[in-house]
């Protein structure tokens, strides 16, 4: 019953999206103007219905209604409740429903609160939003109905991929989706602005909070995803250049560029066409990412749906939306008038540099991600990994980071290096000193070397905009920028340190054996069986000590066996200190001991141990970047609110004075 209610709500929401598109487009014409008033309420209602539909899905998952096919395939009555709920979006259909729900909610929210733009632009924007939603509603209803019934209902479900049975999953996909779909708003704004030819500072100011919001979620989602992969997969890495990771990185790169160019447009009325273009590109990247993941065309840990029909469906949607938006851009780009001018050495100049570099990195990642597809079409099977992505990405990242140190100090319009030069002496010296120290140390690969040397100077340079300012009166947006940029430096330091100084040990240890990993002494105390709600495991008790006289602490990595579906995962154990992280994974019993005629007490266990100096800074930096975004968002929204309140006050006073 609840499943049918969800399906009905979904159909109604789709119908409302259609109405929103028609009313929004007709509202732009002279004869259909009366329809315009309907658009905002319809958008709000569409969001509410989407939410209702999604709530129904969560409900049927939480009670494990096995007569629904999706649940029989992906859930299990023995699962803990939190994973039952999280399981509702841990599969193809559910995640697509989450996608349209978030999209509907974002559209509804925008319809409720966005009052700054001319009404015509808003109509075009909401119509654009509805147009995009419609495609995804069609995809859900015709190609991946989440509420499909199964008759007869099976006695038990298939369970959820144990790798995904982790709290990280409960947060990772929804945050990413909020980001992906939030960018659809930027896309719709860009379409609305192009249709009504209203590309200017007002458009940038209206769009910026949405882009910021989406970007914050993307940042958190990517950071969380990276950490999840780090501790859950037990491979000790934090970024694998997996297609799905790239699928989340590409929209982030585009959104970062968009954020900066929207800043230029809002403040200086320059980079008009470029900003609109980026608005289109950012969401296109989200859709390409979704296509790559959902079509299963690139197989990876995340690709749980391998279905060519769905792939074709999404590919057609992609062609319609991206192709349509680019055509519109091509038609209207020439009518977007030229913005204000600026000198090459200026804040705008630095931001243009940032944008071009970000776009180049985006191109590099996109090429590398799609290349295996192209190669396979030509008959060669290839995979593209870190040997391509790392150096090619760094080629553009390093210059961008250098400019990041300088850019925020420059003035708008025109500036000279001689003015800011003196302030950059200290960071410059730090970079040089760092480089020398690292050279003396020796044995560090080029990329970590560059990263380490740059990061310290960069960290100092990013704080310089606060120099000579009254910190209490510094606007929140400036704080946000400084903290986000500082986060980049922190994260860079963590990444470089992890690559340069990690120590790895792989041993087969008998109980009682002590292994040295960097500064740690790790003693295997015992290996014992333990049991959880739907798994059994072997758990190693490791007694670890930092240095010669540190306190002895315990680490308990597990090797888990799930039975629904049958699969083994390794639960790594982490120990975090201020200067790094100890990472332990328990493998299996080392083969061969029995064959050699040794008893059980003598069996050896495979242990994989890492000491990763300053590794946690990678994710702390990521969170700082998101925090910076959040502060900027609060600052911007608060300023807007103050302006609205002030306007209302003026109106009120005028009324009272009888004017």
């Amino acid at each position: 019953m609840i499943a049918e209610l969800g399906l009905a709500a979904l159909w109604l929401a789709a119908a409302l999206a259609g109405l929103q598109l028609v009313a929004g487009s007709l509202g732009l014409t002279a004869r259909g103007a009366s329809l315009a008033a309907a658009v905002r309420p319809v958008a709000v209602m569409q969001g509410a219905l989407g939410l209702l539909s999604f709530a129904c899905l969560v409900y049927v998952f939480s009670v494990t209604d096995l007569s629904v096919k999706l649940i029989a395939l992906n859930s299990h009555s023995m699962k803990p409740l939190v994973f039952k709920v999280a399981g509702s979006w841990g599969n193809h259909e559910g995640s697509m429903l989450l996608w349209v729900t978030v999209m509907g909610l974002a559209g509804g929210f925008m319809a409720l609160v966005e009052k700054r733009l001319p009404e015509r632009t808003m109509l075009a924007t909401l119509a654009g939003q509805a147009f995009v939603s419609l495609g995804f509603y069609a995809f859900l209803l015709f190609a991946s109905n989440p509420f499909e019934r199964l008759s007869p209902a099976p006695a038990e479900g298939n369970g959820l991929n144990p790798l995904l049975q982790d709290l990280g999953l409960a947060f990772h996909p929804p945050t990413l989706y909020l980001g992906y779909v939030g960018l659809s708003i930027a896309f719709s704004f860009a379409i609305g602005a192009m249709v009504t030819r209203e590309v200017g500072p007002a458009f940038a100011k209206a769009m910026r909070p949405w882009v910021l919001g989406a970007w914050i979620f993307l940042t958190i989602g990517i950071t969380a995803g990276s950490y999840w992969a780090y501790y859950e997969l037990g491979w000790g890495g934090w970024w694998f250049w997996d297609p799905v990771e790239n699928a989340s990185l590409m929209p982030w790169l585009a959104a970062t560029a968009l954020l900066h160019s929207a800043g230029v447009l809002a403040a200086r009325n320059a980079l008009r066409a470029w900003t609109v273009m980026l608005g289109v590109v950012a969401f296109s990247m989200s859709m390409i990412g979704t296509f790559l993941v959902r079509s299963g065309i690139l197989t990876s840990v995340h690709a749980f749906a391998v279905d060519p029909q769905r792939g074709t469906f999404i590919l057609v949607l992609l062609a319609i939306y991206i192709g349509g938006a680019l055509t519109l851009f091509g038609l209207r780009a020439s009518t977007v008038t030229e913005g204000e001018r600026f000198a090459p050495i200026s804040r705008e100049g630095a931001l243009v540099f940032n944008n071009v570099m970000l776009s180049a990195i985006l191109g590099i990642v996109l090429f590398g991600t799609l290349y295996p597809l192209v190669a396979e079409a030509m008959g060669a099977k290839v995979s593209v990994g870190p040997p391509y992505f790392n150096p090619m990405g760094a080629l553009f990242t390093v210059p961008m980071l250098v400019v990041l140190a300088v850019g925020p100090l420059l003035r708008w319009r025109r500036d000279s290096f001689s003015r800011v030069g003196r302030r950059l002496v200290l960071p410059g010296m730090l970079v040089l000193a760092g480089a020398m120290a690292l050279l003396l140390m020796g044995g560090i690969a080029l990329l970590p070397f560059l990263g380490l040397a740059l990061s310290v100077g960069l960290a100092v340079a990013t704080l310089l905009p606060l120099q000579n300012r009254n910190l209490r009166r510094t606007p929140l947006a400036v704080w946000g920028m400084v903290i986000a940029h500082f986060g980049v430096a922190v994260s860079l330091f963590g990444m470089s340190s992890e690559s340069a100084f990690s120590v790895e040990k792989l041993v087969a240890a008998r109980p009682g054996d002590v292994t040295q990993v960097g500064p740690w002494a790790v003693k295997l105390d015992a290996v014992e069986p333990v049991a959880g709600p739907n798994w059994t495991a072997l758990e190693a008790r490791l007694l670890v000590r930092y240095g010669d006289d540190g306190k002895v602490m315990r680490l308990q990595p597990q090797s888990r066996s799930f039975w629904a579906p049958p699969q083994q995962t390794s639960e790594s154990a982490l120990l975090t200190r201020w200067n790094g992280q100890l990472y332990a994974v328990l493998g299996g019993e080392a083969p061969g001991a029995k064959a050699a005629g040794l008893g059980r007490a003598d069996s050896r266990w495979q242990l994989r141990l890492w000491w990763k100096p300053f590794a946690p800074l990678i994710w702390i930096g990521g969170l700082l970047i998101a925090l910076g975004g959040l502060l900027a968002l609060i600052g911007r929204v608060a300023a807007d609110l103050r302006r609205i309140v002030a306007k209302d006050k003026i109106v009120y006073r005028r009324e009272r004075q009888g004017r």
């Binding site: 197989t299 391998v306 590099i364 090429f367 295996p372 391509y388 090619m392 080629l395 792989l506 994974v585």
Partner: protein, 152 residues
Amino acid sequence: MAGVLKAKHQRLVLLSLALVVLLAAGLLAAWALRNQASYFYVPSEIIAAPPEPDRAVRLGGMVENGSLRTAADGVTIMFAVQDGKARVPVTFKGIVPSLFVEGSGVVAEGRMRADGTFIADNLLAKHDENYVPREMQDMTMEQAEKVVRETK
């Protein structure tokens, strides 16, 4: 400088600069991809035309029955990968995926040494229905059954 440039010109200059950088990025990417993409081989191919020893490649096939041995250190394993036509000895140091067993499919990432041994940095075994290395998916369709029958 900008004062001299007319508005139209600045736009043009910016546009062409951006295009040049993006084009350069594209060309660089194409060049690097040719050099850095790691190709997939099955044993008969890798023996017929071995890649250079410093080149990262992937080797896929069936783990030959009875070939799996563990070295004295307990963490280095040696086995042979075969496709029914040829066999390649593989050395791997690490924790093997749980579904890595003799007679099942595997994709090894690593390098082919000049002496004909494959040094694997990473092993991908068939995890579950939802996560199959792409090459192995085809392999199970085309060859696996035959290979399994032959090895049994």
